[in-house]
Each structure stands twice: as structure tokens, then as C-alpha cells.
């Protein structure tokens, strides 16, 4: 498993994470080493094994009905926003 800086930059773009070129080299080396070690799990045959996504599948088997229970908390929730005007979040212009 060998990742190069370009792989890291591709993943960083997907994650919307700005990475400097020297950081990409640093992460490529580190993640390659980690994934090499993790490759031990690929030798186990799991062909017939159903994936387990969540402990709740085993613990209780279900979650509660997914219904809206909260009122509108916009004003409170926006108190922590970096920039708000008239109830809207302000961001840089998207369309010219």
C-alpha cells in the first residue's frame, strides 16, 4: 500500500481540507505505513460474512421512529455562527 502526495491531495479535496505540499508528503508517508499494517485484515476470508455497520443491530435491533420532535431553534443555534445577517448565514458570493 503506497500512497503518494497526489493521492493525499485527491482525498483532501474530497474532504474539503486544504493541505500544503509538504503536508501531503508527510501524510502520504504516514498513511502508507498505517495502511500497510492494516493490510493484515485483508488476509482473513470474509466472503460469506454480512457486514456489521452498527452495534445497535446486535444490542436492540432497532432505533426509535425517526420523527421531528424539535421546535425551531434558529436564533439560539445561530448565536455561535461566524457571520449571520437577518437570520441568514453569510458566505462569500457563489454566483457572479
Amino acid at each position: 500500500m503506497s500512497l503518494i502526495a497526489a493521492d493525499i491531495q485527491r482525498v483532501a479535496r474530497l474532504a474539503r481540507l486544504h493541505i500544503e505540499p509538504d503536508e501531503a508528503l508527510h501524510y502520504a508517508a504516514q498513511l502508507s505505513g498505517i495502511l500497510d499494517h492494516f493490510a493484515t485484515m485483508t488476509v482473513i476470508d470474509t466472503t460469506a460474512v454480512t457486514p456489521l455497520a452498527h452495534a445497535i443491530e446486535v444490542v436492540s435491533g432497532s432505533t426509535r421512529p425517526d420523527v421531528v420532535t424539535e421546535d425551531d431553534h434558529r436564533t439560539e443555534l445561530q448565536t455561535g455562527a461566524p457571520q449571520v445577517e437577518a437570520g441568514y448565514y453569510l458566505v462569500p458570493r457563489v454566483l457572479e
Partner: protein, 487 residues
């Protein structure tokens, strides 16, 4: 303890009830200790003297009205992952360094309703990602037994606060060992409950299928008393489990005769530190003397719990942390050129190195072309790991083994090598993948540093875990030792 206050929650509750002291006096005692001692440990990110005093006054008034419960007026330290209305909730990150939550987490509300007094918010690895508390934006926490060493993580501030007697009890959260590992390294007790027992509402998400809050304390008895208040169904958490209320302290005094303990062969590594092996065997003898029987069991897939855990946890983290976009809350970069620049630079500035590494690893494991080889594979191994535990519990009541492979390591010694740091979670991550309850209790000392004994139970067996731990603590005194620096 100095000033005539006992150290455990249980003993403090007796003193409050008898009128030996008030909650205001007990709270002032802890606030004074924090001011005097915490600069050398860095266990707290935020201390809340005014809020704590007000809660203590209210608790004393509740008691005067004859409406108090066992937790009324007891101070506690709150891991900075639990949202607290009007108080900074940073999750150990620059991203949330100035963020005050607009609401209380369910855990915070429940402890408040029980009359507990929040002393402050404790330091932690950034977004709970770490096993040493060195990834915190607010600086590393230092182990009260040796301040050149780590306290463990990610609930390192909570563990250090309890060990240094800067709080009688604390909250923690455990995604891959983050309650049990720092409890072991700081010589205290910590319980990771069955997944779904404790509401995750208002507990900042790291890996949602693994995250579980729990108590940290000096004794198993204190864990039980605090867990009574923390546990319970919450309609606000879709994964919260509705079960009849249970008194987790009811069975503590019951003898252990007939208890069947299993030693997972994979956890009793012949190559491990001989001193740790000797300490664990001594603990096993204590349990035998208490009437437990012991037999060997096997968890055949234990060796792949680390890769399976890190792939699942990082994948979920990369998704959960996408909410930090510089728009709705948290850090925003200066002078963004456009929306893409706003997102990517705010995130680059707001997150530390370990969080970025995990976002990258998780995004990679979920990306097109790699999903089946990494994420799906990890989920399949998760099934096998879960089935291993179920098979083991067919013949025994609890599993026993080490919490960690070593005692507390030196600050900085593993920080530059993330893989070595991850491998330290070898005995704790399987429990989270399966959703099982487990606890760590102090088992002794190696070169003056504490180590932990881990007990793992089947689903919903917290009462048995706490009973076993309490009985063990009734015949040992490791849990009563205090660091010299906590004088």
C-alpha cells in the same frame, strides 16, 4: 483528604446527609484545590466557579427542603465533549475554541437534575481522537503519578482530575477505550457502558456507532451511583435503548461465589511485560479467593480489532466532522476568496494534525474504488469480532484481562508515530466494535505507575461488572492510593 472532606462520592454523600458539611463548602474545597494544583496537570480547560457555587447553593436548598437524593450537592468534572449551555464546549479543538453550546447534553441535564455540581470542563484529545491527551489544542494533560508522562486519552483530563482529587467523579466518553485506558493509566476506575445505555444527545460525535459516555471515579461503588443518573432512555438519541430502570448499586455487596471468569488467550500475551503479567495474575487470584472460577477462552479475531476499529472510526469521523464548515459554527478563516476556500481553509486551520490524519484516512476508506477493500472489509471483521465475544460469553459471565499493554508512557514518546499510538488500543477497541460494556479498575503498580484490570461483560451486564469490581476493591486497596503530587 485535607480540610476533613472524604474522597469518594459515597462518603461525601454521607457527610452531606448528616450535615457535617454543605455542598457550598465541598464545592469551595474543590475549586480551591483546582486553583492550587491544576496548573501542574492541565486537567481542566474551563473552570466554572460562579456556576458551581450557584449549583451548590441550589443543592443545599434542595436538601433543606428534604428533597435531596444521593447525588445532591456532589461536585463532578465534565469532559469537554458534553455540551453545556452558556459554557464553552471546545472538544479540545481550535475549531470550537470559542463555541458556547446553546443547549445542555442529556447527560449534563440528567446530572444537573440529580443535583450534581459541575466544577468545570476537562481537557481531552481533540475531538476525542488520541490515546495520550497530547492532541488537545489546549495542551497536553500530565499524569498525576508522574508529570513527565501522559494520562492516557481521550478522557485524560477527567482521569487526571479524579486521580489528583480535583473532582470526586467525572464524565468520560469511550469510542475505542477513551474511558478505560486513561482510567488505567491514572489509577482510577472507569465504566464504558453497553452501547445505547447513555444518551449521546449533546455529546459531540466522533464515531457514532461506537461512541458511548460513561462515569469515571475512584471506586466501582461511585461508578454505580453516577451511572444510575447517567443511564436511561432518551427519545432525542435514536440509538438510545429503552429498558426498565435499574439500580446499578443494588447488587454491589452480593458475593461473587459462582461467577465464571474467562481469560481471552489473545489478551494474555506471553510476550507482554512480565511485571504486568504478574500483576494481572495476582488480580486473578483475588477473584478466585472471592469465589470466582476462571477458564481460558478465545477471541480468534482479536488481532484485527485495531485495523477494523481504525477504519470504521475514521470513516465515521470523516463524515461526522464534515459539519465543521466555517459557516454554521466554529472557526472561520480570515478573508476567504470563495466558498471552496472558506471550507477548506477554515477546516485546515481549525483541525489539528491527528484529526486531519483521521479525516484523510476515513475519506480514503470511503472513497470510490477503496470502499469494499477497506470500509466494507472492516465491517465484516466487526461482525466476526462481535461473534467471537458472543461465543465466549456462552461459557463465562465476564472476561478478564489487561486494559493496556503498558503503564503510562512518557509525554512525546509516541506522538510522532501514530501507528505505535494506535497499537496501544489493542485490548479496548474490540469492546466498542461489539457494543459491549467493560470497565477498568486499578490492579496495582509497576515502577510506581498504576496499571488497570479490565473486565468485559455481555450486553446489559453493567450490574455484574460493577459488583465484581466492587468486590475486588473490597479486598484490595490499589484504588485508594493517591499520587504524592495530589497532596
Amino acid at each position: 483528604m485535607d480540610a476533613g472532606f472524604p474522597e469518594t462520592l459515597w462518603a461525601q454523600a454521607q457527610g452531606l446527609r448528616s450535615g457535617a458539611y454543605s455542598s457550598v463548602e465541598l464545592t469551595a474545597h474543590y475549586l480551591a484545590r483546582i486553583a492550587r494544583l491544576d496548573p501542574q496537570f492541565n486537567a481542566y480547560i474551563t473552570v466554572c466557579p460562579d456556576r458551581a457555587r450557584a449549583q451548590a447553593v441550589a443543592a443545599d436548598a434542595t436538601r433543606a427542603r428534604g428533597e435531596s437524593g444521593i447525588l445532591t450537592g456532589i461536585p463532578y468534572a465534565n469532559k469537554d465533549i458534553f455540551c453545556t449551555r452558556g459554557v464553552l464546549t471546545t472538544c479540545g479543538s481550535r475549531m470550537l475554541a470559542n463555541w458556547a453550546a446553546p443547549y445542555d447534553a442529556t447527560v449534563v441535564a440528567r446530572l444537573g437534575d440529580a443535583g450534581m455540581v459541575m466544577l468545570g470542563k476537562t481537557n481531552m484529545d481533540e475531538f476525542a481522537m488520541g490515546s495520550s491527551n497530547e492532541t488537545s489544542y489546549f495542551g497536553a494533560v500530565r499524569n498525576p503519578w508522574d508529570t513527565s508522562r501522559v494520562p492516557g486519552g481521550s478522557s485524560g483530563g477527567s482521569a487526571a482530575a479524579v486521580a489528583a482529587r480535583l473532582a470526586p467523579v467525572a464524565t468520560g466518553s469511550d469510542t475505542g477505550g477513551s474511558i478505560r485506558q486513561p482510567a488505567a493509566l491514572c489509577g482510577i476506575s472507569g465504566l464504558k457502558p453497553t452501547y445505547g445505555r447513555v444518551s449521546r444527545w449533546g455529546m459531540i460525535a466522533f464515531a457514532s456507532s461506537l461512541d458511548q459516555g460513561g462515569p469515571m471515579a475512584l471506586t466501582a461503588q461511585d461508578l454505580a451511583l453516577m451511572f444510575n443518573a447517567m443511564a436511561g432512555a432518551d427519545p432525542r438519541d435514536a440509538t438510545s435503548i429503552a429498558r426498565p430502570p435499574e439500580d446499578f448499586s443494588a447488587a454491589l455487596e452480593r458475593p461473587l461465589a459462582g461467577l465464571r471468569l474467562g481469560m481471552p488467550a489473545e489478551y494474555w500475551d506471553a510476550a507482554a511485560d512480565p511485571a504486568l503479567q504478574a500483576g494481572l495474575l495476582a488480580a486473578l487470584e483475588n477473584f478466585r479467593a472471592l469465589g470466582a472460577s476462571v477458564r481460558e477462552v478465545s477471541l480468534p479475531h482479536a488481532a484485527v480489532s485495531i485495523p477494523a476499529y481504525y477504519v470504521v472510526a475514521c470513516a465515521e469521523a470523516s463524515s461526522n466532522l464534515s459539519r465543521y464548515d466555517g459557516v454554521r459554527f466554529g472557526h472561520r478563516c480570515a478573508a476567504p476568496q470563495d466558498l471552496a476556500d472558506l471550507y477548506s481553509r477554515s477546516r485546515a486551520e481549525g483541525f489539528g494534525d491527528e484529526v486531519k490524519r483521521r479525516i484523510l484516512m476515513g475519506t480514503y476508506a470511503l472513497s470510490a474504488g477503496y470502499y469494499d477493500a477497506w470500509y466494507r472489509k472492516a465491517q465484516q471483521l466487526r461482525r466476526l469480532i462481535q461473534q467471537d465475544f458472543t461465543a465466549a460469553f456462552a461459557g463465562v459471565d465476564l472476561l478478564i484481562g489487561p486494559t493496556t499493554p503498558t503503564t503510562a508512557f512518557a509525554l512525546g514518546s509516541k506522538f510522532e508515530d501514530p501507528l505505535t499510538m494506535y497499537l496501544a488500543d489493542v485490548y479496548t477497541t474490540g469492546v466498542n466494535l461489539a457494543g459491549l460494556p467493560a470497565l477498568s479498575v486499578p490492579g496495582g503498580f509497576i515502577n510506581s505507575l498504576p496499571f488497570g484490570v479490565q473486565l468485559i461483560g455481555n450486553y446489559f451486564s453493567e450490574a455484574t461488572l460493577l459488583q465484581a469490581a466492587h468486590q475486588y476493591q473490597s479486598t484490595t486497596n490499589w484504588h485508594l492510593q493517591r499520587p504524592a503530587m495530589a497532596a
